[in-house]
């Protein structure tokens, strides 16, 4: 995991009008907060942040934000997007400490082609991402799952995932299904789904 350095400016005025002026000047409004820490409203360079989020390690990364002479180790905690242009409108950065666990959401990615799919089965990813609590040093970009050995009728559960050592799974049970490979005839198709609703 790399640490990305970002230089920020403190935002003096708040409110809709001043925030839109920040956006017009090519900056992005953001806020830094943490435990026993007063929140600081900041502005960061939009392009720099956009590149690091979309082309770099994604949102699961530690950023070092330099503000005047202080520096904060943070993770992007909450991102706000414009519904149509899909630009990032605002970012919440949470201060992380080495000895405190932090909440992170990992996307779950598959590698390989499963045996079941080769036989004509259908692969269904039930859980696209997983929320965990872990130490900042264990943060990675994503969880990669090898599905090569999954046959028809087999499934991969949360407890089978290769999670970092300090990770505690949140919100889902350890027996929750992540990936299921079923025989082609068992899979509800797009046409069958509404028909099933009507039958009820």
């Amino acid at each position: 995991m790399n640490t990305i350095k970002i230089v920020a400016q403190e935002r003096v005025g708040l409110g809709k009008e001043l925030t839109s002026k920040v956006r017009q000047s090519g900056m992005m409004p953001a806020v830094i907060y943490g435990k026993n820490q007063e929140s600081v409203s900041i502005a960061i360079d939009y392009n720099e942040m956009y590149k690091s989020l979309f082309k770099g390690m994604g949102r699961n990364n530690i950023y070092t934000i330099t503000l005047d002479k202080k520096s904060f180790d943070v993770i992007p905690y909450e991102l706000q997007f414009h519904p149509i242009s899909r630009e990032i409108r605002h970012i919440d950065f949470k201060i992380v400490k080495e000895d405190e666990k932090v909440r992170v959401k990992f996307p779950i990615k598959q590698t390989g082609v499963s045996i079941g799919v080769k036989k004509g089965g259908k692969l269904d990813q039930k859980l696209p991402s997983i929320m965990v609590k872990l130490f900042p040093k264990d943060i990675c970009k994503e969880i990669v799952v090898d599905i090569t050995n999954l046959d028809q009728g087999q499934e991969l559960l949360v407890k089978d995932l290769n999670l970092p050592a300090s990770a505690e799974v949140l919100k889902v049970a350890k027996t929750h299904r992540v990936i299921v490979v079923s025989a082609a005839s068992e899979v509800p198709t797009a046409e069958a789904a509404p028909a099933a609703k009507k039958a009820k």
Binding site: L53, R59, P83, I84, K105
Partner: protein
């Protein structure tokens, strides 16, 4: 065709449709979505026609989610009727769609197939739409 099983009141006021949708503006279930770019009412029939167009194009493969539901009754006064004598009777149901709303989602199909299916579906709708893909960062 989508419509409520029962309603608390038979008739509703028309309401307003201005503004941008912030709720229901992210892809939540599938990989690709069809996003509304105008504000309008979409009838249950239009939703069903769009769903059929999509389903037939992807040849019943993949999965489809309908993210809007027509829960608003629209009344109509019968033809050749003198004005007055109260509000007409409910004729059909609509969904109030604001720009930004995700109308449909598709998963488990290649991007080209999803794009074409959404294009065919968009022709059944009274509004401008946009094909969007899920952003990994949005998860």
């Amino acid at each position: 065709m989508l419509m409520p099983k029962k309603t608390k009141y038979r008739k509703q006021m028309r309401g307003r449709r201005k503004g941008t949708a912030y709720r229901g503006s992210k892809i939540s279930f599938g990989e690709f979505g069809l996003q509304a770019l105008d504000n309008d009412w979409i009838t249950g029939r239009q939703i069903e026609a769009a769903r059929r167009a999509m389903t037939r194009h992807i040849k019943r493969d993949g999965r489809i989610w309908i993210r809007v539901f027509p829960d608003k009754p629209v009344t109509k006064i019968p033809a050749e009727t003198r004005m007055g004598k109260g509000k007409g009777s409910p004729e059909y149901f609509v969904s109030v769609v604001r720009k930004g709303t995700i109308l449909f989602e598709i998963a488990d199909v290649p991007v080209e197939l999803a794009k074409e299916a959404m294009r065919l579906a968009a022709h059944k709708l009274p509004i401008k739409t946009k094909f969007i893909e899920k952003m990994e960062i949005e998860i």
